[in-house]
């Protein structure tokens, strides 16, 4: 007899399958409460690392007070664990995940986020991020600005050797900047951070001078931000971006570890550089393993295959925290999420409307939902990580208050319409928000949509694949409202994101133009006296908080998952901590 598909046996089989499936899907079994989203790949295209482009500004005078005149640069952090865990031991391999193949050239247009980690280990820069994020010595031992602020002079070490034995000299700095960064045709990534640099000249083999087109206080900090120095002799007459033996093979490097092997799609294995100028590193090897899936990364951290990683999917934090073999540590980031209301839309040019948005959106609830509480509402672009500059008392506080939002909207001329949606001049307050599918943006936008609905604003969501989203919103500026974030170097110079000159084509995404804000931005950009600069930053912070060029959302924290045996990792976000791998050690 043939079995009809409605036969009780096939129904029972289906039921059995469902029960088994349900049992397997129980929270105890799955590490993440959300299934691995196909749209949540560890970033292979650059979105996480977004260096700034420094714009133009007026010249100023006054000597630098950021580390100057051979004053001691900020010391690298003394890892607290080292004191607690005992004496560092030599040996061992540390493995950390990356999402895709790296390009081992920090200036290459294909150097996306996975390359950042590798390149910060391989290539030293003139400065590195220090404690309190102030620039610390690396290839340069000290630096100072000229009295007119139109140049910076860096004194270089004379004891650095490249991995092929050649000495590092000023000529390598010249090659990196004059031949690569400032070369328009090459379109080096990150060149936008150095638009104020006209050229670099060698005063002598251990001294270089950056000649500027306008004062640039943040230069030492920017030189610590994905700005590795490359060896001239390794490239000879080769186009530095077509030299695959270097970029995709075995580069000539100066850092504490050098490339031993690279297998596409699999890993980059670095081995200790015994001749490293900062002293012999403790670890034998540092492996960057390609693990594209976020859940697999978590599983590998728990099984010990990975020693240290960033927990992108914070929903899994509770499960990871309960594991004995790892510790979870929050880190400060120089990053803020924002909602950009396109200033070409007349509805958004009224500051009361922008403020209403900030009051209407329950940012703390979003932080709890998408960051599991690891974040803080933001009311300006100055991040709390800048402990020298950030002062919350200068923020306007936009704590969640829908009634206040409604009042502000009413005062701006918006009255509730027949269907509850606000109206003005017969037009409903309705628009579309473009959502890029990456990270936490989708759930964030959904929450915002609900918050806005509660005050009578109808925001429709248009979710887009990331690459297309960038083209539409960032390249073409064809959008009304969108949520995104900025990551920037460790300095409060945020001119490129807010200046009028950066509207339209530059990084001023909302297109906000305000001469008063420009003046404040320029002051911060050009002031070299630390005390005066602090005041300038305070003024800037207050003004941008009150006027909301972007509707500031929140400052996220990074969660690092670190194996219990791994010691010596400083209290910095993982990208910055990569500058200290020579201090990491494994407890046996």
């Amino acid at each position: 007899m043939r079995m009809h598909w409605l036969h009780w046996r096939s129904g029972a089989a289906a039921l059995a399958a469902l029960v088994l499936f349900g049992a397997g899907c129980s929270p105890a079994a799955a590490p993440a409460t959300q299934p691995a989203q196909p749209t949540n790949p560890p970033p292979t295209t650059a979105a996480a690392a977004q260096p700034t482009a420094a714009g133009a500004a007026k010249p100023t005078t006054a000597p630098a007070s950021q580390p100057t005149q051979a004053a001691a640069p900020a010391q690298p952090t003394q890892p607290a664990q080292a004191q607690a865990a005992g004496q560092p031991q030599a040996g061992g391999t540390v493995t950390t995940p990356i999402g895709a193949d790296p390009t081992m050239n920090p200036w290459h247009p294909n150097a996306f986020v996975e390359s950042v980690f590798v390149n910060r280990v391989l290539f030293d820069s003139l400065t590195r991020p220090g404690k309190d994020l102030a620039p610390a010595a690396d290839l340069a031992t000290s630096w100072d600005a000229a009295p007119d602020g139109m140049s910076w002079t860096f004194h270089l070490r004379d004891d650095v050797k490249w991995s092929d034995g050649q000495p590092f000299t000023a000529d390598d700095v010249l090659f990196t900047f004059n031949d690569i960064v400032l070369n328009q045709a090459l379109a080096a990534t990150g060149k936008g951070n150095f638009t104020a640099v006209q050229n670099v000249e060698a005063v002598n083999p251990t001294t270089v001078k950056f000649n500027l087109s306008r004062p640039f206080s943040a230069l030492p900090s920017y030189l610590a931000y994905n700005a590795g120095i490359l060896p001239r002799h390794a490239f000879a007459s080769q186009d530095p971006f077509n030299d695959n033996a270097f970029n995709k093979g075995k580069p000539v490097s100066s850092g504490p570890f050098k490339v031993e092997s690279y297998a596409s799609g699999d890993s980059v294995v670095l081995t200790r550089n015994d001749a490293y100028f900062g002293g012999k590193p403790y670890l034998d090897k540092l492996v960057f393993k390609v693990v594209p899936d976020a859940n697999t990364q978590i599983a590998q951290a728990l099984s010990g295959e990975l020693s240290i990683m960033i927990l992108d999917n914070k929903a899994a934090v509770d499960r990871v925290k309960s594991a004995q073999q790892v510790r979870v540590e929050p880190r400060q980031l120089v990053q803020y999420y924002w909602l950009s209301l396109n200033q070409t839309d007349p509805r958004f040019t009224d500051v009361r409307v922008r403020q209403a948005f900030d009051y209407a959106i329950d940012r703390q609830a979003i932080i709890t939902a998408v960051e599991k509480g690891y974040g803080k509402p933001a009311n300006s672009a100055i991040v709390p990580a800048f402990t020298t500059y950030y002062d919350a008392s200068h923020d306007s506080d936009y704590a969640f208050n829908p009634d206040k939002a409604k009042q502000l909207l009413a005062s701006a001329g918006w009255q509730p319409g027949p269907d509850g949606i606000l109206q003005k001049d017969g037009q409903p307050f309705q628009f579309t928000m473009d959502v890029g599918q990456r990270g936490v943006l989708q759930p964030t936008n959904e929450l915002i949509q609900q918050n806005l609905k509660a005050v009578g604003i109808q925001a429709d969501l248009n979710s887009m694949e990331w690459n297309s989203y960038i083209q539409k919103v960032v390249v073409n500026r064809d959008y009304t409202a969108t949520v995104n974030w900025w990551v920037y170097p460790n300095d409060p110079d945020v001119f490129p994101y807010f200046a009028s000159s950066a509207a339209g084509k530059g990084f001023n995404i909302p297109g906000y133009k305000d001469p008063k804000l420009d003046a404040l931005l320029t002051a911060v950009q050009t002031e070299t006296d630390l005390a005066k600069r602090k005041q300038d930053v305070v003024d800037l912070q207050s003004y941008m908080s009150a006027n909301l060029p972007y509707v500031f959302m929140w400052y996220p924290q990074e969660l690092d998952v670190i194996n219990a045996n791994l010691q010596g990792v400083p209290d910095l976000n993982l990208r910055d901590a990569m500058h200290y791998v020579q201090e990491w050690w494994l407890k046996k």
Binding site: M1, F21, P31, A187, A263, S264, D266, E305
Partner: protein, 301 residues
């Protein structure tokens, strides 16, 4: 035919919204994008670019990958063997496990084994590969520490046969779940059809042992439709490999294709498509050849 595939693919990807990842960075300035566009040859119209690509392709030069600056052929050659290995083992597992399961299900029709196998088939079709992969990783790698959770070998390039087999087991199993249920069900129904044929009744009434009837006569005929189904499952393996390779960090073509698509790496996308199309054509050819071996009545035309 490959020409048509390449032309259509080239046209479609270049017309898709978005652009090469190196241009679609949030930290790129308009000047950088323009300069890069020039360097990558993207300032020229699409038909001109296609002709240039074709000229190179006919000489074996599939162009340069935008995402890594390496030759497309090199990138594919680095990854293709890994996917062939994974898909091949998954297919072999499906055949070796699936056909016997289908035979058992057919012979023990409507009994407990058949019922269980039906449940397994439904499970196999329903369970998403990424979920199964993660569950297996959690169970076998994290909790029990029996198997490694990603990669081809423990340290790149090295690793003996045992190490490689350990790395291969879980991804191959997970990938095989995308085709195993079909093999089981089709074998079952094909064999059931054949078992009702006159010649089977004749053989049984002649007094042949059941085993001989089934394995000597019926199965061989039943396998003809099964082989054709397997032929259509090969593309499914290629597609399923994308998810499996991502979960298990397997450096294969599936993952390369996804990265290329996300990053609008035009030469690489077209190169992969052309090569995968060739592989599919080749597998169809092999299936046709298998027919003639299985069923002498079918001759190569």
């Amino acid at each position: 035919m490959l020409l048509l595939v390449s032309a259509i693919t080239f046209l479609l990807v270049n017309l898709a919204p978005g652009g090469p990842a190196s241009l679609m960075r949030m930290d790129a300035t308009p000047e950088q994008r323009e300069a890069l566009s020039l360097r990558l040859g993207l300032d020229q119209p699409v038909p001109v670019r296609y002709v240039q690509w074709l000229g190179g392709a006919l000489h074996g030069d599939l162009g340069t990958s935008l995402g890594s600056n390496e030759p497309v052929a090199l990138r594919v050659v680095q990854r293709l063997p890994n996917t062939l290995l994974l898909a091949g083992v998954a297919l072999a597992l499906s055949i070796v496990i699936g056909i016997p399961m289908g035979v058992v299900a057919a012979l023990r029709r409507n009994s407990v084994p058949d019922f269980l196998l039906a449940a397994v088939s439904i499970l196999g079709v329903s369970v998403p590969a990424f979920w199964l992969g993660i569950i297996l990783i959690l169970a076998l790698s994290v909790n029990l520490n029996w198997l490694p959770s990603s990669g081809i070998t423990s340290t790149a390039g090295e690793g003996g046969l045992v190490d490689r087999v350990q790395h291969l087991i879980m991804p191959a199993l997970v990938l095989s779940t995308t085709v195993l249920p079909y093999v089981v069900r089709f074998t079952r129904s094909a064999l059931l059809e054949v078992l009702h044929q006159d010649y089977v009744r004749t053989a049984t009434s002649k007094g042949l042992a059941r085993v001989r009837v089934v394995f000597g006569h019926a199965l061989r005929n039943a396998l003809v439709p099964v082989v054709s189904i397997i032929g259509t499952l090969v593309p499914r393996l290629v597609g399923g490999s994308v998810v499996t390779e991502s979960v298990f960090g397997w450096p294969g073509m599936g993952r390369l294709a996804i990265e290329a698509a996300n990053g609008r790496d035009y030469p690489l996308i077209v190169g992969i498509t052309v090569i995968v199309a060739s592989v599919v054509v080749l597998s169809s050819l092999i299936v046709d050849l298998a027919y003639t071996w299985l069923d002498p009545r079918i001759r190569l035309a």
